[in-house]
């Protein structure tokens, strides 16, 4: 494994793993506390439509997926703000239609032979330098967002009605959280793929939430836990030649089970 560190693609993979973990730790925390997990799942799957379009029109996959998933985020934000009932039905609809569009365009692309599985389940060992630049830019933007607007984000997430009364632009922040979720999903596609991304946005966050007493520490801890899981998963993926997404998610799931057992034992000791 140490020898492998000399390869550029391994270095890129490790850097990408860390960057995605930071983004998903921060944004995943916001998704979980705002109860947007289902919305994020919708956005993730819808982004497949963007991949299909990008393949068909020959534009960069990252760009296509970003535009399409941000579009999906704006649409979902509009629906959740304005539609009073059956929001889940509409999200489910967008979710499926997005994927269908993706499949349609991939089918229509002549001579298409890129491995589709890599978008669905991750292909971290094929991270390019441009991918890394995109990831760095996004992580930087997200950190700026949560640093300068922490109190607004906190107010909107904890009690949006009250935040509105205090003059916070609730709809704007709600929409921004969804847009950042969309972009985080896009960079996470490289690491775990769009089907498994939801686990990366929830498992480390669930553990961090139990150990935190503020949103800030939850984000920080989520990023660290997520990094550990991702690098550990990568290691296994490389050594045993397993798809990176599956390896990372299963590592996370095993740690989650161990963590739940630990909590159970701790609580039993406390009350016995």
């Amino acid at each position: 494994m140490i020898d492998a560190l000399h390869y550029e693609f391994i270095q890129n993979a490790i850097i990408a793993g860390i960057l995605v973990s930071i983004a998903s730790g921060i944004i995943g925390s916001l998704i979980v506390v705002n109860r947007m997990v289902f919305l994020a799942g919708g956005i993730a799957h819808t982004s497949y439509g963007g991949i299909g379009l990008a393949v068909y029109f020959g534009i960069p996959i990252f760009l296509g997926a970003s535009l399409f998933s941000v579009g999906a985020a704006l649409l979902i934000s509009f629906i959740t703000i304005n539609q009073k009932e059956r929001i889940d039905t509409f999200i489910g609809l967008i979710w499926a239609v997005g994927m269908a569009i993706g499949i349609l365009f991939v089918d229509m692309t002549p001579g298409y032979n890129v491995d589709l599985m890599s978008y669905l389940f991750g292909s971290i060992l094929a991270v390019s330098r441009e991918d890394l630049y995109f990831m760095i830019a996004l992580v930087f933007t997200i950190i700026t967002f949560v640093t300068f607007w922490y109190r607004d984000i906190l107010a909107v997430s904890y009690d949006s009605e009250y935040a509105l009364l205090r003059g916070v632009h609730v709809k704007l922040f709600y929409t921004l959280i969804l847009v950042f979720s969309a972009l985080t999903v896009v960079i996470a596609i490289k690491i775990v793929g769009l089907i498994l991304v939801i686990a990366l946005l929830t498992i480390p966050i669930y553990i961090a939430e139990k150990l935190s007493n503020s949103l800030y520490s939850m984000m920080f801890l989520s990023a660290i836990i997520s990094t550990i899981f991702t690098l550990f998963g990568l290691f296994i993926s490389y050594n045993y030649d397993i798809t990176s997404g599956a390896a990372i998610i299963l590592v996370s799931a095993i740690f989650l089970v161990l963590f739940l057992i630990f909590l159970k034992i701790r609580d039993n000791l406390k009350y016995s």
Binding site: F148, Y150, L154, R166, E209, S212, N213, S214
Partner: protein, 244 residues
């Protein structure tokens, strides 16, 4: 000048009329209890006063201004403080949400804002819990934190929606004696269905069930000594007597 002035207010949601021709004027340092059946429009009336909902017709003036212009003069304590209890947030952070969003520093909170929030917590005797996670408090303690949050902007009116609906009887007493104390300097409007408790503290009562009926009970109270309590029958008789 009246603190709150409502004239011929009507509010409809889709085709249903929720409130019809409401008239109300609240004077400074009054303790108004808004009572009435569920679905009668109590909470809606409160939301109209806050400017969260818009009236279909008629007008509401808070210190002679539209509700949306009086954000700082109104403190609001919402219903259901038991929601979102798993949220990783400290008591102090909850209270600091009460500051209005202007004159803010680039990052985080100003020193004065923290001092101000701690003072509010002290007012409700919760300063010891400033760094505790909000979910670790009892219902009554959490309610006092919400009151502290409302006090953070130094309001002249405090609006509370069912402040005791989720807490035990000891907690209820604590909340109401706190409100009585605060009432020495600010006007209080409470939506509640706990008739027996609220009427020990209120100076006036508004019964809302689509339409509204106002009763001044401050003079009635004088007939009772401190140890005595109103029983509900007396209360209802008192409110029912339209000739006084």
């Amino acid at each position: 000048m009246n603190v709150i002035d409502i004239k011929n207010l009507t509010f409809s949601y889709e085709k249903d009329t929720i409130l019809e021709d409401i008239n109300l004027s609240v004077k400074a340092k009054e303790f108004l209890a808004i009572i009435g059946p569920n679905g009668g429009g109590k909470s809606t009336l409160l939301k109209l006063m806050l400017g969260i909902e818009r009236a279909s017709s008629g007008q509401i003036k808070i210190f002679g201004e539209k509700p949306s212009k009086s954000l700082t003069s109104i403190g609001y304590v919402p219903q259901n403080t038991n929601v979102n209890t798993n949220f990783p947030i400290k008591v102090l952070e909850v209270v600091m949400m009460g500051h209005v969003g202007h004159k803010r520093p680039l990052i985080g909170y100003k020193k004065e804002e923290i001092t101000c929030a701690l003072t509010s917590l002290k007012q409700v005797s919760m300063e010891k819990y400033a760094n505790k996670k909000i979910g670790s408090l009892s219902g009554g303690q959490r309610q006092r934190v919400m009151i502290a949050r409302a006090l953070c902007s130094h309001p002249k009116i405090l609006l509370l929606d069912e402040p005791t609906s989720n807490i035990d009887t000891i907690g209820q007493k604590e909340v109401y004696s706190l409100l009585k104390e605060l009432n020495k300097t600010i006007t209080i409007v409470v939506v509640s269905h706990d008739l027996s408790i609220i009427l020990e503290y209120a100076t006036s009562v508004l019964h809302v069930n689509k339409q509204a009926a106002f009763h001044d009970i401050s003079k009635k109270r004088k007939f009772f000594t401190k140890e005595e309590h109103f029983c509900e029958v007396e209360l209802l008789q008192m409110i029912g007597n339209k000739n006084d």
